[in-house]
């Protein structure tokens, strides 16, 4: 019996196995005295790679809310930020700006997830019973409010300097920078794979059927006995808590946080990734995110080849991304890998 025969059947199980494997490998590598060296010039790929898998958790959570349940959340970054800042404030030690309480980081990470979930529940409670667009407004507003709070309440959030001296457990375990980057990328990929596995199980189960029914027609779903509000709340809170987790691990990887990491740009990136790939399909949204982040990465190199300044180039990049989005919406409204029937769009 070969190894391939012993692999589990389902998508979720394979992803879970992959996730656990990656995590085990990363932990073993970090604990071992082995070190690795990233060739010069390639470290940018690792940086973007780490950001991609962190945003991967964001896009998977957002897709549970929007792609599966039809909840329009235009402020996903707020849950990412709440998770990040909770971890930073609780775990940072003697940061010279903001509050740092110095609790153990695992505790802070759990608190980050819970806090983001609670904020999700509060935002959800204000608007999930109302018409769809109210949630869009409430989430957008929540993100803007939290952003300006982090900038202005310096005593707690450290203003635009942010919070420094957050423990970096992977850095500590791995030793040097290059090894840390590799371990982080592998470990976080494992965590994203586990998120993928869990959400796939959820959406493949009758649970996901109820979510998709809510997206299609709330009244029908209620009239066959499903408590629509409860499901909307759950999907929203799960997405928020996942974003909080992503924020937490990002804080523990980066070692410092400031408002510039949590601008509306984050929300825009995950939304474009989700729509580009195809909502309601876990693989597609990760694929779409990879396309959009890959494009950003390669455009960095492209800048060297064209005779324009960095600022001009940034604008050109935005135009290019806008064009791609227009083309996708025109010719593949369900996204590159999305299912038009599933999403109810004509193509």
């Amino acid at each position: 019996m070969s190894v391939a025969d012993r692999l589990p059947e389902g998508d979720a199980e394979r992803a879970a196995l992959l996730g656990l494997g990656l995590i085990a490998f990363a932990l073993a590598f970090a604990a071992s005295p082995l070190t690795a060296i990233i060739p010069t010039g390639l470290s940018v790929f690792f940086e973007v790679g780490v950001l991609f898998v962190v945003y991967g958790i964001l896009v998977l959570g957002l897709d549970l809310q929007y792609g599966h349940t039809g909840l329009v959340n235009f402020g996903h970054v707020v849950f990412f930020a709440v998770g990040g800042y909770t971890v930073a404030i609780l775990a940072a030690q003697n940061s010279f700006s903001g509050t740092s309480l110095g609790y153990p980081w695992p505790l802070a990470l759990v608190a980050g997830v819970i806090t983001a979930g609670v904020v999700g529940a509060i935002v959800g409670a204000t608007s999930l019973r109302l018409r769809d667009d109210f949630l869009a407004i409430a989430t957008l507003a929540a993100a803007e409010i939290f952003h300006s709070v982090t900038v202005n309440v310096q005593g707690i959030f450290g203003g635009s300097t942010g919070i420094l001296s957050i423990p970096r457990p992977i850095r500590t375990a791995a030793g040097d920078y290059d090894t840390m980057m590799i371990v982080t990328l592998v470990l976080f990929s494992g965590l994203t794979a586990l998120t993928y596995a869990g959400l796939t199980r959820l959406t493949d189960a009758p649970y996901g059927r109820v979510l998709r029914a809510i997206r299609a027609d709330e009244l029908v779903t209620r009239s066959v006995g499903k408590s629509v509000f409860t499901y909307k709340m759950q999907a929203f809170v799960y997405g928020a808590a996942l974003a909080g987790f992503a924020g937490g691990i990002f804080a523990l990887y980066n070692g410092a946080l400031s408002p510039e990491f949590f601008t509306i740009q984050v929300t825009v990136t995950v939304w474009i990734g989700m729509l580009l790939g195809g909502a309601s399909n876990h693989r597609a949204v990760l694929g779409g995110l990879a396309v959009i982040m890959g494009l950003r990465l390669f455009s960095r190199f492209a800048n060297d080849a064209v005779p324009v300044t960095a600022t001009e180039f940034a604008s050109l990049r935005l135009i290019a991304i806008g064009m791609i989005l227009v083309l996708v919406i025109r010719y593949r409204p369900a996204g590159i890998w999305g299912d038009p029937d599933e999403l109810g769009v004509d193509s």
């Binding site: 869990g198 959820l202 027609d217």
Partner: protein
Amino acid sequence: MTLLDVDGLEKEFGGLLAIDDLSLSVDRGELVGVMGPNGAGKSTLFNCISGVVEPTAGTVAFDGEDVTGEQPEVLARRGLVRTFQHTRQLDTMTVRENVRLAAPNQPGERTVPALTRSQGMQETERRVVERADELIEAFELDHLADEYASNLSGGQRKLLELARVLMLDPDLLLLDEPFAGVNPTLTNEIADRIRELNDEGMTVVVIEHELETLTALVDRLVVLTQGSVLVDGDPETVLDDERVVEAYLGE
């Protein structure tokens, strides 16, 4: 024994009384038709009973308990299920999924059993799949089982809606114009199905415009005009009633 008891029901929409002091009771096992001219309040009556809108005054009792203003999902779980005048199907789901969705008591609709793929969820789902396929076959939709509901014709949508509500095995079924926009052959088929369900013990209330099918089908006919009951009796007596002729044809 009374299964549904509507007493003194009133529903006002911006100064207009859509339902005006309406009282109606349905016994267990009955097959009752509700008819009336446009705007008589038929659909509003269903909406009030099934919890889609809250009545302004009056009470709705189901199976001996006051359920006035109760949420539709709670009523559906208790056994009071309705269909819609303009069929509502879940367009972005297949016929199979549309029907399976309605299955009651599926533990896999909760997070933890869904994540762990619990034994209970898998066993229930096996029964759900079987039952849904039976219903899809019974309504002759099996060749469309994997088709998205948006691709169905009007008549097929009516059948799908029936299959979906039957998945809940309701005690009281409220059908809002099940024959509207359906060809005569299919109308007869649907009528036969309703008759069968009733013979098996299900209590059914049907709203319908089409007089002929309805009078042939039901045991009792209730005629509404201007939000209240005009006549309530067996079909022949009701149709001979002068007030009914007036309400429908004018004086």
